[in-house]
């Protein structure tokens, strides 16, 4: 593998990072909306979001990408691969983050909500200033764990035809016939992205556990 091929892998890495970042940012927004609806106390909203979460947690990510990819084309929207894949990952991330944050919101002691109601805080202020900051702290290890899962998951975009790190690896491997070397390097690149995050998540989890004792 010469320098040119390695640089090609790095350009694939760039798209992996970009795709993960887009999916995470939009997924956070979507996930927050899902989590708030899921805990809203309004039965139809709760049912609908519970169904959404069950659908995305019960089917393979690869199928979600396929269905979104071909479904958009069906609707007559001829978007490029970028938009379709980003949308697929955003929907996926919204479901998982929504479920993580639902758990975190419900883990905030009830007294906090009751106290803010007693202080006559409105819903927005109660959530924004009292419940969500505490929920965020509780959910941080799981959120980072999901980010790692998401970065690894973006490799499936290669099957839909999006050129990111895994697909770049495939292309280089077909060119130079050294699959072990190429996939080894690709694996190391993923590892270098995910491992620090995993360690940070584990560190936060220990700190949270220590704070609760």
């Amino acid at each position: 593998m010469n320098l040119g091929e390695f640089l090609f892998l790095l350009s694939g890495l760039k798209w992996t990072v970009a795709l993960s970042a887009i999916a995470f940012v939009f997924g956070c927004a979507g996930g927050l909306a899902i989590a708030l609806m899921r805990t809203s106390g309004i039965v139809p909203l709760e049912r609908a979001t519970a169904g959404y979460i069950a659908l995305f947690q019960g089917t393979p990510l690869l199928m979600q990408l396929f269905v979104v990819y071909y479904g958009l084309a069906l609707l007559g929207l001829h978007l490029n691969a970028w938009v379709a894949v980003s949308l697929g990952f955003t929907l996926h991330a919204s479901a998982y983050l929504g479920e993580i944050w639902r758990g975190a919101i419900q883990a905030v002691p009830r007294g906090q909500t009751e106290a803010s109601s007693a202080l006559s805080l409105k819903y927005v202020s109660r959530m924004k200033d009292v419940v969500l900051p505490q929920a965020l702290r509780i959910s941080l290890p799981a959120t980072i764990g999901f980010l790692v899962q998401l970065i690894k998951g973006t490799s499936l975009a290669s099957i839909v035809g999006f050129t990111e790190l895994a697909r770049a690896g495939n292309m280089v491997s077909n060119q130079i016939f050294k699959p072990l070397l190429v996939f080894g390097v690709v694996g190391i690149l993923y590892f270098l992205m995910c491992w620090p995050l995993s360690l940070y998540g584990a560190h936060l989890e220990r700190r949270l556990a220590a704070a609760e004792r």
């Binding site: 609707l75 790692v148 690894k152 490799s155 690896g169 694996g187 995910c194």
Partner: protein, 222 residues
């Protein structure tokens, strides 16, 4: 937008798709079995007296958990022949699934083993039980019981991951669907249908695990 949905290819391909579901179950069950073996073996090695063993298990777990399954399956697919093992894609996929699931299983089972208090083990040894029996009855079973829910959801995840095995054209639902799709171009209908099939498969897995839990882990604790 005047596309008419046409499910004829799906209906014509239904026997093939159902056979694909069976292939998916086979991959999932094989992968889980291997994952359990690796998980229990890994936990034993991780607490071994030899630092090299402990270190190797830790490195294995971190390496597998921080790289994508797609890259792992490609690597294994090309590495096995070099190791002198020429296998078909399907057994290769089972090995890859087992290795991947095994790394997660080690972490999960270890959490359960750590929750067993030392006094229990000492009591077992004091009663003259053999070390292997102490491990099986006093450490492993309660540990598995304690972590069974996380293990089950990890295994449902493993079942869904089998779809990635289509990348090396192992025999399972996704690769069958891809074949039908490439013959009929009814992409949305085919993939939409098998998405629902996967949903049913994961529900069946959950039901299977709650059955196991009720059968083997429902004895009273205190």
């Amino acid at each position: 937008m005047n596309y008419v949905l046409d499910f004829t290819p799906v209906i014509d391909g239904l026997p093939d798709l159902l056979a694909g579901c069976l292939g998916t179950f086979l991959l999932a069950l094989g992968g889980m079995l291997l994952a359990i073996i690796i998980g229990i073996g890994g936990v034993v090695l991780r607490d071994s007296r030899f630092p090299a063993c402990r270190w190797a298990v830790k490195a294995f777990v971190e390496l597998i958990r921080n790289t994508p399954f797609l890259v792992q399956i490609f690597f294994i697919y090309f590495a096995l022949p070099l190791a002198g093992l020429r296998l078909d894609p399907t057994p290769t996929a089972i090995i890859a699934l087992g290795i991947n699931g095994g790394a997660y299983a080690i972490e999960i089972i270890r959490g359960g083993v750590q929750s067993i208090s030392k006094g229990q083990i000492e009591a077992g040894l004091a009663l003259g039980l053999h070390r292997a029996l102490v491990f099986r009855l006093i450490v492993l079973k309660p540990a598995l019981r304690a972590v069974f829910p996380s293990l089950a959801s990890q295994f449902v995840m493993l079942t869904l991951t089998t779809s990635v095995a289509s990348a090396i054209s192992a025999y399972e639902l996704t690769s069958v669907a891809q074949r039908i799709e490439s013959e009929t171009f009814r992409s949305f209908e085919v993939f939409g249908t098998i998405t629902l099939m996967y949903l049913v498969i994961s529900w069946m897995m959950m039901a299977f695990f709650s059955l196991i839990s009720a059968r083997y882990f429902s004895y009273p604790v205190k």
